[in-house]
């Protein structure tokens, strides 16, 4: 099918240039140079779904980083006399059962959810990525050992493993939850990276660099990793979303964050029982949570489409 695919290439590829020394190249009218990343960025910025999702994530991120930007209320100023008052103009989300301003609670609740997700994701990306790279690149007994350790953590179903660890740790705070999410999720990243390293370490351009005399570190970090990183990036984006949801689920199961900490998970699991009487108590935090997870997944999807050469 050489003809069709190369027709596609000719369509997609910009260059129409001279092949001889004399010919001046003209790349379809665009003089600027563009890497794959730049291409991907351009494509992403043209994708309305990605842009909306990205803006949403930025908004949530700013809530987590600078809650004071969003509310001047103190979420800890509570009075049981105001318990479960419906939303009003001044208090757009109303009050929760302890009579705390629910909007402020929601804003301040973004931080633990986001911090857990971001820390755990960076952890698995760094740790899992490194192990995956080592296992994939060196193979042999390095691979065997890392793979077996991966198997061990893999064989624990995620939620079950999290419950076991968190109940036995018995300290439920941001750090332990991050730790547990990290512990159970790193093998996935490691496996993804390992797979793409294995498939890219025999690529021609890696061999070419090797033939020039490049050392292992150079091959790994300059040639293999940058090309193996795309699937990991996509997965990491989606995983950010699922960690936000996981925090809430663990809280529901009673092994997540504990009040008086503030998080969306706590808001949802504390108030889900009131959802028939005062549905807004569930709807606001749930809406924020679902929006965040949704945004991350959609961003991941868009990223995959942008980075996958198949879709170019």
């Amino acid at each position: 099918m050489s003809d069709l695919t190369s027709a596609g290439t000719a369509v997609g590829g910009a260059p129409v240039g001279g092949d001889g020394p004399s010919t001046e190249a003209t790349t379809g009218g665009e003089g600027r140079s563009a890497s794959l990343w730049a291409d991907a960025r351009r494509q992403l910025l043209r994708d309305p779904i990605f842009v909306i999702a990205f803006i949403y994530v930025l908004v949530v991120g700013s809530m987590a980083a600078f809650p004071k930007l969003w509310t001047s209320q103190d979420p800890r100023s509570c009075n049981t006399d105001r318990s479960r008052i419906s939303p009003s103009g001044e208090h757009p989300f109303g009050f929760d059962i302890l009579g705390c301003d629910y909007y402020a609670h929601a804003i301040y609740g973004a931080r633990p959810s986001m911090v857990i997700a971001v820390m755990a994701t960076s952890g698995i990306v760094l740790f899992g990525g490194t192990l995956g790279l080592l296992a994939g690149y060196y193979g042999g007994w390095v691979d065997t050992i890392i793979s077996r350790v991966m198997d061990i953590f893999f064989s624990l179903p995620f939620l079950l493993g999290a419950i076991v660890f968190l109940t036995v740790i018995k300290r439920q705070n941001i750090w332990t939850i991050t730790g547990v999410l990290f512990l159970l999720a790193w093998p996935t990243i490691a496996r993804i990276i390992r797979g793409s390293v294995i498939s890219s370490k025999d690529l021609d351009y890696v061999q070419a660099a090797k033939a020039v005399g490049a050392r292992n570190s150079r091959l790994m970090f300059r040639h293999i990793l940058p090309n193996a990183i795309a699937p990991m990036l996509v997965y990491a984006t989606i995983v950010l979303g699922s960690f936000v949801a996981a925090e809430a689920t663990l809280t529901f199961l009673g092994v997540g964050l504990q009040p008086p900490a503030q998080s969306w998970g706590i808001m949802i699991s504390t108030h889900q029982v009131y959802f028939l009487e005062d549905p807004w108590l569930l709807l606001f935090p749930c809406g924020l949570l679902v929006g965040t997870v949704l945004s991350f997944i959609l961003m991941g999807d868009a990223l995959r489409d942008a980075l996958d050469p198949k879709f170019r």
């Binding site: 099918m1 050489s2 003809d3 027709a7 290439t9 000719a10 001279g18």
Partner: protein, 345 residues
């Protein structure tokens, strides 16, 4: 087998047994992609007689495979769309047939061989299954009978121990054997026209020779029309009767095989012939064609070849593209200066 043919002929309304097995008239295909419309085929015409071998020669991206897919009706659509022209099988315009009728033409009357047999064969079914499927679905045979026919076919294409190999999966065959399986599959229903899309490009020369010999033998036996799509000037010289040379979606020269090689009438054809190294001639200077073929989204006005052409004049750079000039009774070339090209040795 002859009874099969008769059965088939009755099944399709409007068939004129005396008309040519295949005629393509002014075919246009375009691909509508994110980056614009790619004009893959821009008015291709040719015809094919029974028993004749028609070579379609061109470099990658010139639209030759798209033409083949359009004839078979297996273009990926979207993004590919046939925007004009006719494809006549014995006088019946296939493009006007409903899909259910069109389907009966495929494999039965016009069959196709693909370049990469490994990816063209379904990896999860045995070759026997894939062969027998044709008999079961088109001829209504039982599984058992179909299997018997599958073995016969494998024998026909000279695969050793056919009765055992029929149960093997495609990846268990070598490249040459796989291509034989493809041929067997194409010939299963005894078609009148066979389209071979780069059938030997992926193969080694010795295997290529085997396959081409086999194809030629089978074509002779059955008096089949063969459309051979290739970029290999050597193969063409060996087997073709008539040649259509394509460039940027157009046929730019059409002639009998001897005429083309002896006196090419289009500068592109000429350039191609001069740029290939030859086994039988030592160390002559290769004269390369400068530049690159155009992108199909952005075909230059006038003659598509003009930026690379040493004969090009102003007239070549303006629309319309040069028509196919009648060079001799059986020969056309789409160059304003065909006389100069032909005479220039």
């Amino acid at each position: 087998m002859s009874t099969d043919v008769n059965v088939k002929l009755e099944a399709l309304a409007g068939v004129d047994p005396n008309a040519l097995p295949l005629q393509v008239k002014d075919l246009h295909v375009e691909f509508r992609t994110r980056n614009g419309i790619a004009h893959a085929v821009n008015g291709v015409s040719f015809d094919l007689r029974a028993g004749e071998t028609r070579a379609i020669l061109g470099e990658s991206g010139c639209g030759k495979s798209v033409t083949a897919q359009a004839i078979m009706g297996i273009l990926d659509s979207p993004p590919g769309f046939i925007t004009g022209g006719e494809i006549l099988y014995r006088g019946v315009d296939l493009l006007k047939l409903p899909e259910s009728e069109r389907r009966k033409v495929r494999a039965n009357r016009i069959a196709m061989i693909f370049q990469d047999a490994l990816s063209a064969l379904n990896p999860v079914f045995t070759v026997g299954f894939q062969l027998a499927e044709l008999f079961r679905k088109h001829r209504g045979m039982s599984r058992k009978d179909a299997k018997v026919r599958a073995v016969e076919l494998l024998d026909l294409v000279k695969i050793p121990a056919a009765s055992q190999r029929v149960n093997d999966y495609p990846h268990q065959f070598s490249g040459g054997m796989r291509q034989r399986v493809m041929i067997a599959m194409a010939l299963a229903l005894d078609p009148e026209v066979l389209i071979a899309d780069e059938p030997t490009t992926a193969l080694d020369v010795t295997v290529q020779a085997q396959i081409m010999a086999l194809l030629a033998e089978l074509q002779r036996e059955r008096n089949m029309g063969l459309v051979l799509i290739t970029h290999d000037m050597g193969v063409v010289a060996d087997v073709a009767d008539r040649i259509s040379v394509m460039y940027a979606g157009r046929v730019i020269e059409e002639a009998g095989v001897n005429d083309i090689y002896a006196t090419p009438a289009h500068p592109y054809t000429k350039g191609l012939l001069e740029s290939i190294p030859r086994l039988d001639l030592k160390g002559h200077e290769l004269s390369a064609i400068k530049g690159l073929p155009p992108a199909l989204t952005n075909i230059p006005p006038g003659c598509a070849f003009n930026p690379r052409c040493r004969y090009a004049q102003d007239v070549c750079r303006k629309d319309p593209a040069p028509p196919l000039y009648q060079v001799s009774p059986n020969r056309t070339a789409a160059c304003h200066f065909w006389k100069e090209v032909k005479g220039d040795e």
